[in-house]
Amino acid sequence: MTSLQSILSGGLQGYVLVALLLFLAGLGTVLGRRSILVQFMGVELMLNAANVALVAFARFRGGDVQGTVFYLFIIAVAACEAAVGLALVVGLYRHRQSTDTDRADALKQ
């Protein structure tokens, strides 16, 4: 099977490619946007890209259960990150009346 066929029909290469491109879309969001909330969403996309790769490798290694276990731990950590990260965003907004990261360029108000 050629690699293009494998990608289009949902082989492992296709999933790895989707994971890589999803990661890059998240990275682009974090680098290119100024609103800290959108940057936060970009971080979630990057975490999801890791999950796609993890579950894909688990399936192509004969339905390994470890992949799902690690996925579970990753989403637990992502949920913690969401709670603490958004609390920090709210705290930042109280100090600066803005969620623009360009304005948050000094430690002191």
Binding site: R33, M41, I75, A78, Y93, D102
Partner: protein, 162 residues
């Protein structure tokens, strides 16, 4: 089916990167997470798909949208000054990384070797629970503690006077 879900995922992600309205950006994120859940179903892992929908497109997106509406920041502010060097630098960096990623994923012999694996038995909660509580009990408990710490930390950060 794979192509539909993959395109759904990537379309949501790219739309998120270019969307000006923050609430719509949050909904693009839901689209992307749903696409990922579909990919998990195709990977014979309905447990991960269900968790993806419940935790990501449920809890996390609702939390983000809640904060967007709480702070009343529906639009991104216009830039105070333009930074052409950084902007084009990041575009070039991303394109180079994307090119490298495509080359790596399509040209890898190790990936091709795993390619022909037959579709395994679908993941079920029984197997997941056995693995979680037999082999990873300590990590499981630590994750519980971590969630508690995050909860307390979030309350402590947001509350004005404890």
């Amino acid at each position: 089916m794979f192509l539909i879900f993959a395109l759904l995922t990537l379309a949501g992600a790219v739309a998120l990167a270019f969307q000006r309205n923050l609430v719509v950006a949050g909904l693009c994120l839901v689209l992307s997470f749903m696409g990922v859940a579909g990919l998990f179903l195709l990977l014979a892992n309905p447990v991960a798909a269900a968790l993806q929908i419940i935790v990501y497109s449920g809890a996390i997106v609702v939390l983000v949208l809640f904060v967007i509406m709480l702070l009343n920041e529906h639009q991104e502010e216009p830039a105070e000054r333009s930074r052409p060097l950084q902007r084009w630098g990041s575009v070039v960096l991303l394109l180079a990384l994307a090119g490298g990623a495509v080359r790596l994923a399509t040209g890898s012999a190790a990936l091709r070797k795993l390619e022909g694996a037959p579709l395994p038995e679908a993941m079920n909660l029984d197997r997941l629970g056995q693995a979680l509580l037999n082999d990873h009990l300590l990590a499981f408990e630590v994750v519980g503690l971590l969630l508690l710490a995050a909860m307390v930390g979030a309350v402590a950060l947001v509350k004005r006077d404890l």
